[in-house]
Structures are given as structure tokens and as C-alpha cells.
């Protein structure tokens, strides 16, 4: 284990240097051989998890007295433990949709986390608006945040949504930089496409520091991006997962689309976290861990089709799909 010791030593040294750059001495010195686990075994250890956070980052957040306020619960203790204590409250977090078509899931997850964080902040005005800043390109590719849907899913009242749409990435970073230090906003969600060079380590670090001062989260939402090094404390890759069937009066309704589910890969945060599947409980407004194994739902096969079944497509023969016995082939392309 000599290699490990050397690594720990190096890590400790780097932390010291970062702390020196930030003009602050680390309060709690992590010994190179301290070796405690980041994930506390019992839930009483949210403090413990937050303490780890403190050690990892040198000094406590200004304006926040209690270490336990540093992380907010996602609503499920098991998820919190897997994420290293929950969502970092006063920090930059990153939510990545690897493909544009997952942008709906990623956006909803970011909003769910942001609004849960807002509820846990006691001092915040309950009607504080949420700023969603995006570039024109991102909005055109993945659609705009739509408040009727957001109200129904995460309970964000339409008048609390503030949208900023700018043409260039530099403008977006300006908006985010100006908005990040405002405690009057319930959260700042910053959306962009891909991994632009302008949003590099120093830009994310700046956002992170401002979020720390404001005492509430800034969430960087990337569409069609890959994970890359940044200052965010937590980086999640989000894909949509098959939803749970809806239930009414204790009866599960087969074939229905119920609460949305997300497949998360923790890219940065707690170490050694396996991929997890979360479900958003829209009635209780919290995330629930879905036990592995039940993640996959069998596709529902509709058995009965009343009447004639003819497939039609408007202009193109929908080639490329496997033929289905219960559907006829699309009509051949018309000439002319």
C-alpha cells in the first residue's frame, strides 16, 4: 500500500497549496493516513459527511454556521449516503445529459435538486425566483423550460421561473456570474451545450466561489456533453430510466407512465458510487432510490387492437424499424 500512501501524501500537499492560494488555512487537517470513509454508515452522520466536506475543502462556508447545512437531503437517506451526504447546498453542482434527448430528464433532476435545496434553506424567502439562464442554441435544440410542466412536476410556480436567454456563451457566463452571488434567487441553473473552452476550470471555480458566498446552489446543466474536470463538487451524468407504473388507491396500473425515473452516474462526489436509479416522487417532492433489479420494466405489449391496423407515415417510409406483426408496413414513397 505504499503507492496509496504516496498518493495520499501528494493529495494532502496539493490541498495545502490550494488553501494557501485561497488565503485560508485549513481548519481541520486531514492527516494523510486518516483514511476515514466519506460515507458515514448511519444517517446520524450527515454531520459526519459534511465534516468530510469541510476537511476536503479547507474552510467553512461564510454565512453558514452549521456544518449540517452544507448538504441538503435528496429525500432518501440511501441516496444521500451514496452522494456523499446529499446535494451540496452552497456550491456548484454539475448535471450532464450525455445526449440532447436526455435534456428533459437532466433539467428536471436539476430543478428537483434546486427546489429541495431551497426548501431546506430556512432564511430564504419562500417566493424567491429561480433563474434559468441558457443560450439560444441550447434552447432551440432541447426546447425551453415550460412552466405548466414544471409546476406539475416539481411544484415550481410559473411566476417564480425567470428565464434568461442570450446568444453567446460569454454573455451566459456574465449572467451567471452576476446572478450567482444573489441570495434572493432560489437557485441559478446555467445551461449550455457541450464542453465549450470558455467554461473551464477557472470559470467554474468562480461560479463555485460565488455560490458559496450566496449560500445556495448553482447548477451547471450541460446538454450533449462529456464529463470534464471542473470545480463542481458534485457531477452527475443523467439518463432517463423507464418510469414506474402509476398507482391509484394502492393498485398498480399496468402500462401507465408514472413517476419519472433517472439513471445517475456519479462522476464526481463520493467515491466508488455505483450507478443508481432514482425516482422522483412528485406527490412528496423527493427523490427515492429504486432498488436495483427492478430498474428494468418489461415493455408492454398491447395485445388487442380494435379495428384495422394500418401504419401510415406522412412523407417517408419509416424504414429502419423492425417489422411488427400487428402493424402493416408503411406505404411506399410516392413519386413526384
Amino acid at each position: 500500500m505504499a503507492t496509496r500512501a504516496v498518493t495520499e501524501e501528494l493529495l494532502h500537499d496539493l490541498r495545502q497549496r490550494i488553501a494557501a492560494i485561497e488565503d485560508a488555512t485549513p481548519r481541520l487537517q486531514p492527516g494523510p493516513a486518516a483514511g476515514e470513509s466519506r460515507v458515514s454508515p448511519d444517517h446520524g452522520g450527515r454531520d459526519e459527511a459534511a465534516g468530510t466536506f469541510l476537511r476536503a475543502h479547507g474552510r467553512p462556508v461564510e454565512g453558514l454556521r452549521h456544518a449540517r447545512a452544507l448538504r441538503v437531503s435528496t429525500g432518501d437517506e440511501r441516496v444521500d449516503r451514496l452522494l456523499g451526504g446529499g446535494l451540496p447546498l452552497a456550491a456548484l453542482s454539475e448535471v450532464i445529459a450525455p445526449e440532447t434527448r436526455d435534456a428533459g430528464a437532466a433539467g428536471a433532476l436539476a430543478l428537483g435538486l434546486a427546489l429541495r435545496a431551497h426548501r431546506e434553506r430556512k432564511a430564504a424567502p419562500p417566493q424567491a425566483p429561480l433563474l434559468w439562464a441558457t443560450t439560444r442554441q441550447a434552447m432551440a435544440e432541447a426546447g425551453m423550460p415550460w412552466s405548466p410542466g414544471l409546476a406539475g412536476l416539481v411544484g415550481l410556480e410559473p411566476h417564480r421561473l425567470l428565464l434568461a436567454e442570450v446568444p453567446r456563451l460569454a454573455d451566459l457566463l456574465w449572467i451567471a456570474g452576476e446572478a450567482a452571488p444573489l441570495p434572493g434567487l432560489c437557485a441559478v441553473i446555467l445551461e449550455m451545450r457541450g464542453n465549450p473552452a470558455a467554461c473551464d476550470l477557472s470559470a467554474t471555480r468562480r461560479l463555485h466561489m460565488r455560490a458559496r458566498h450566496a449560500g445556495r446552489p448553482v447548477i451547471l446543466l450541460r446538454q450533449a456533453a462529456r464529463p470534464e474536470a471542473g470545480a463542481a463538487l458534485l457531477r452527475l451524468l443523467v439518463r432517463a430510466a423507464p418510469s414506474a407504473p402509476a398507482s391509484a388507491f394502492g393498485v398498480t396500473l399496468d402500462g401507465t407512465i408514472g413517476n419519472p425515473a433517472f439513471r445517475l452516474t456519479v462522476d464526481k462526489g463520493a467515491s466508488d458510487t455505483p450507478d443508481l436509479t432514482l425516482e422522483w416522487n412528485r406527490d412528496e417532492q423527493r427523490f427515492v432510490l429504486r432498488p436495483d433489479g427492478s430498474a428494468e420494466r418489461e415493455p408492454v405489449r398491447r395485445t388487442a387492437h380494435p379495428g384495422a391496423v394500418v401504419s401510415l407515415s406522412a412523407h417517408r417510409p419509416g424504414s429502419g424499424h423492425a417489422p411488427r406483426p400487428d402493424l402493416a408496413d408503411p406505404p411506399a414513397r410516392r413519386r413526384g
Partner: protein
């Protein structure tokens, strides 16, 4: 106003001096002179003369094409420049300016000093100008054109105008010619005639002009620029060029405006900073505020963003010599008392200030809120609309939250909506089955589950006739992605049925 080109421009190398310059325009198919420089006038050329005749008399003249649009543009720029004397500066025909200096003269040491200053500065800009000063615009017109430099005391208009020719009255050319033809060549003679007969024969405009010039009826100058409620200005001994200095002076001006705003119980909603460049150009920067504003520092910050947004395109030239900050629009200022807990009001204030800075930098359209409408049509139900009044909407929000009926649709709605629905190739059971698979952006999706349909009819009072009915489906593909698709039309053979993807669920 005569254009002083001959002496302003240098003669070309080799030539002793520039030839006389005339401008020509085409009037009713004939080329005629429209303006002559001083030397050309000395040669006996006058506007209105045929160009061929002028060339025959003096072959050496230089002829340029007249450009009345450019003249008007120049005159408007000059009127902007002249607002350094009074906000009420208006155009007078195609070659003059009216300045209403009532209440402004004392700032320049009296009426005469103001007039001399204006003439002096205009000459320094290279313009040949004449000025006159009187209590009525009509009389001032006559003084400036026929007796340059004259100052007519109130009440002396009749004595001054009587000996002057009819051209002093701004009459229609036809009426003037007609009056001359009957022997009425001076204003005094015209005034001595019976009014009814003159009005009957030459039109009521003649009498109206006469009355206006004599001060019997009022006439106002219509200003080119809107007149501000409040303004403060600073004249600098040395021109400034740096943006930082401009910001600093703007803050000083805002400090000067603050007591007046406090006295009125108002705050600024729209502010304009006008900058007079030493070469006569005037730049105007306008910023809007998200809430009624008085704080000098906040006003300076707004102009800082505005200047930053110009990104160096504010051409300072040789520097700015006058800066004026005007309140173009104001609103009642809600006196706010910090509550003991402190923060909430304060933080909302900070959000409003952020909205202002963003608007000053990117324009007022940058921040948007969902504009809720009573509509089932998804495109219209919650279209993002610019937030015009951040403070107002922040204050209003509590009311909305408590009183407005909850906007809860019956079926689940997507969290993201495409502004324009994108066509997909879908395969679905007829007559109204859910899509079994579809192709969107060249990728094939196989539908595992679907819920629907939810029928949304077109708004017949808005859409053209024949707009198809939409049947919306919430579908989930095999990997769990949830989409909002709709079918436009029915499989009844009447029209091709098209499928669209409109939004994404979480």
C-alpha cells in the same frame, strides 16, 4: 444656413483656389440651382436659376448634386447639438432651427450672450449661421433671415416687421406671389388690409402667419426630442475621453438629480445620458431600470453596463465636453423600510438590480418569465415574455401566489417544450392508436408505453380554417425517455396525417 464648403475645404494641389460651388437639383424636369456658395452668389448666381444658364454665364463653376435627405439629416444632428442650449429645439423648414430659450437664457448669462455663444460655436464647427431673437417664432424667423443678429423686444414685433418684405412671414410661394402682384410688398401693408378679404382671396394661412408673427396668437416650437422631466448637466473645462470618467460624472449627475426626485417622491424608470462631443456630435445612451431608482451608485452601474455593452464602439473622438443626465420616465418611489429581520426585501432589491444590469447590457428582452394565458394551445399557454417591471412583478408575485387560480392542467405536461413542433415519421395504429415507433432527428425510437390521447382543438378564432385537431400522446421509449407527440388530423383519407414531437417529459 449656408454651407461653407468653399472655405472649409482646401483647394486641390496646383489650383490657386477652389472654383465657386453650386448645388443643382431637378425641378419639374429642369436642372436648377438649389444653393450657391458665397463666391457664386458674388458672381450673381441665385438659387432657382437654370443650370445651363449658370454654366453659360460662368463655365468655371463646380456643380454638385443636391441631396435634400442628407441636408435634413444634418439639420437634425445640428438640432441635437443645439439641445445643449435648450431641450426645446425644433426644425425650421429645411434650413433653420428654432430654439425655445424661455427659462434657459440665464444659464448662459442672458439672451444676448446665449445667442452670441450659439453663433460662435456654430461658426467654430465650420458653419455659416445667422441668428435672430424674438418673442414669437415668426418674428425670430424674420430677424434671423433678414436682420441677422437682431433682438426684438416683446411688443416691438409690429414695428420691426412692418418695413420687412413678405418673405419674412413664411408664406406659401403662391400666396406670396399673389400678394406681391396686388402691390402688397411689405408686412406693414399687408397688416393694414381688411383681414376678411385677404383670408378669402389668399387663404386663411396668410392671416394665421401674420397673427403668429405679431404675437396675437400663440405658436409653439415642436421639439425634435422628447423633453425630459428632470435633467442635470455638467459642462467640462477639459473634454473627457475615458469610459471611467464618463461613469464617474454620470454618478455625480445622478447625485444632483436625487434631491429633485426625492422631492417629487419619484424614482427614475428610464434614464438618458447625452454626451456632446467637441466636434458637435451628440451621443445618447438610454437605460431602463427594473424599479424606480434614485441611488447614484446604482445609476452609475447601469451606465457602466451600457458602456461595456457598446464594447468600445462609443467613439469619443476628441472627447466629450458636456454630459447631461435626463430622467425620461419616472414612477412613484415606494419608500421601503428595512424590516428587522433584514434580508428578504434587501435580497429582492439585489435581484431587481441584477435584472437592470442585465437589461442595460443585453437589452430589455433578455429576462423573461412565462406569460400565462388562458389557452389550451401549448404554444400560447406559457410563452416566455420579457419582464418589463421586475420590482412590480416581484411585489405582485405574492398576490398571484395567494389569489390567482392555480394553473393546473388535467393531464401531465412536459417540462421542456420545443418552440416549433418538429415533424417525426411515426407509425401508429388507425384510426387513433398511439404511435408504435417514430423517427426523430434521424434516430428511431420504439415506443414501450403510451398514454393518451388528449385532444386539443385549434383556437378557431385565431387559426386559419382547416387547422387540424391535435391528439397528444405521452410516450416512453424502451430506454425510458419520455416524449410528447401529437398527431395532426385524422386517418380519414381527407388530408395527410402528420406527427410532431412537441416536448420532453422528465
Amino acid at each position: 444656413m449656408r454651407h461653407g464648403r468653399t472655405w472649409r475645404t482646401r483647394p486641390p494641389a496646383g489650383a490657386a483656389e477652389r472654383p465657386p460651388l453650386v448645388l443643382a437639383e431637378t425641378v419639374a424636369g429642369a436642372r436648377r440651382l438649389s444653393a450657391c456658395c458665397g463666391k457664386a452668389t458674388a458672381l450673381g448666381l441665385v438659387p432657382g436659376l437654370g443650370l445651363a444658364a449658370a454654366r453659360a454665364m460662368h463655365p468655371e463653376i463646380e456643380v454638385l448634386q443636391a441631396d435634400p435627405a442628407a441636408d435634413t439629416r444634418f439639420l437634425k444632428h445640428l438640432a441635437q447639438w443645439a439641445t445643449r442650449y435648450t431641450p426645446l429645439a425644433g426644425l425650421d423648414g429645411s434650413d433653420g432651427l428654432f430654439l425655445d430659450i424661455a427659462g434657459c437664457a440665464h444659464l448662459f448669462g442672458g439672451e444676448e450672450a446665449l445667442m452670441l455663444d450659439a453663433v460662435e460655436r456654430a461658426r467654430a464647427l465650420g458653419l455659416a449661421v445667422q441668428a435672430g431673437l424674438a418673442a414669437t417664432p415668426g418674428c425670430a424667423f424674420a430677424a434671423a433671415r433678414l436682420r441677422p443678429g437682431a433682438m426684438i423686444a416683446p411688443g416691438a414685433e409690429e414695428a420691426f416687421l412692418s418695413p420687412l418684405p413678405l418673405s419674412a412671414l413664411r408664406l406659401e410661394p403662391r400666396a406670396e406671389t399673389g400678394l406681391r402682384a396686388v402691390g402688397l410688398s411689405t408686412v406693414g401693408r399687408l397688416a393694414a388690409q381688411p383681414r376678411a378679404a385677404i383670408a378669402r382671396r389668399f387663404g386663411p394661412a396668410v392671416i394665421a402667419r401674420l397673427d403668429a408673427a405679431l404675437g396675437r396668437t400663440g405658436e409653439t416650437v415642436s421639439p425634435l426630442m422628447p423633453v425630459a422631466d428632470l435633467s442635470a448637466e455638467r459642462r467640462l473645462a477639459e473634454p473627457v475621453m475615458l469610459a471611467e470618467h464618463v461613469e464617474e460624472i454620470a454618478q455625480g449627475l445622478a447625485r444632483a438629480l436625487k434631491p429633485a426626485l426625492e422631492e417629487r417622491g419619484q424614482g427614475a424608470r428610464r434614464l438618458e445620458l447625452a454626451l456632446w462631443r467637441t466636434d458637435g456630435a451628440v451621443k445618447r445612451l438610454t437605460v431602463g431600470t427594473a424599479r424606480p431608482l434614485r441611488e447614484p451608485r446604482a445609476i452609475r452601474d447601469l451606465f457602466r453596463e451600457r458602456l461595456a455593452a457598446l464594447d468600445g464602439t462609443l467613439d469619443a473622438g476628441c472627447g466629450f465636453e458636456i454630459l447631461r443626465l435626463s430622467v425620461l420616465a419616472s414612477a412613484p418611489f415606494g419608500e421601503s423600510q428595512r424590516d428587522l429581520a433584514g434580508d428578504p426585501a434587501d435580497s429582492a432589491e439585489a435581484v431587481a438590480a441584477f435584472a437592470e444590469r442585465a437589461a442595460a447590457r443585453f437589452g430589455p428582452q433578455v429576462l423573461m418569465a412565462p406569460g400565462l394565458r388562458e389557452s389550451h394551445c401549448p404554444e400560447r399557454a406559457a410563452l416566455p415574455t420579457p419582464v418589463p417591471d421586475m420590482a412590480g412583478s416581484l411585489a405582485l408575485k405574492h398576490d398571484i401566489a395567494t389569489h390567482a387560480p392555480a394553473h393546473v392542467p388535467c393531464a401531465p405536461r412536459p417540462v421542456r417544450l420545443l418552440a416549433t413542433p418538429e415533424p417525426v415519421d411515426a407509425i401508429a395504429g388507425i384510426p387513433d392508436g398511439p404511435p408504435a415507433s417514430f423517427r426523430w432527428r434521424r434516430v428511431h425510437y420504439r415506443v414501450a408505453r403510451a398514454e393518451g390521447p388528449e385532444r386539443i382543438g385549434p383556437e378557431w378564432w385565431r387559426e386559419p380554417e382547416g387547422t387540424p385537431v391535435r391528439d397528444y400522446w405521452q410516450v416512453e421509449d424502451e430506454t425510458g425517455r419520455r416524449f410528447w407527440l401529437y398527431r395532426a388530423g385524422f386517418y380519414d383519407g381527407a388530408a395527410p396525417v402528420r406527427w410532431f414531437l412537441h416536448g420532453f417529459f422528465a
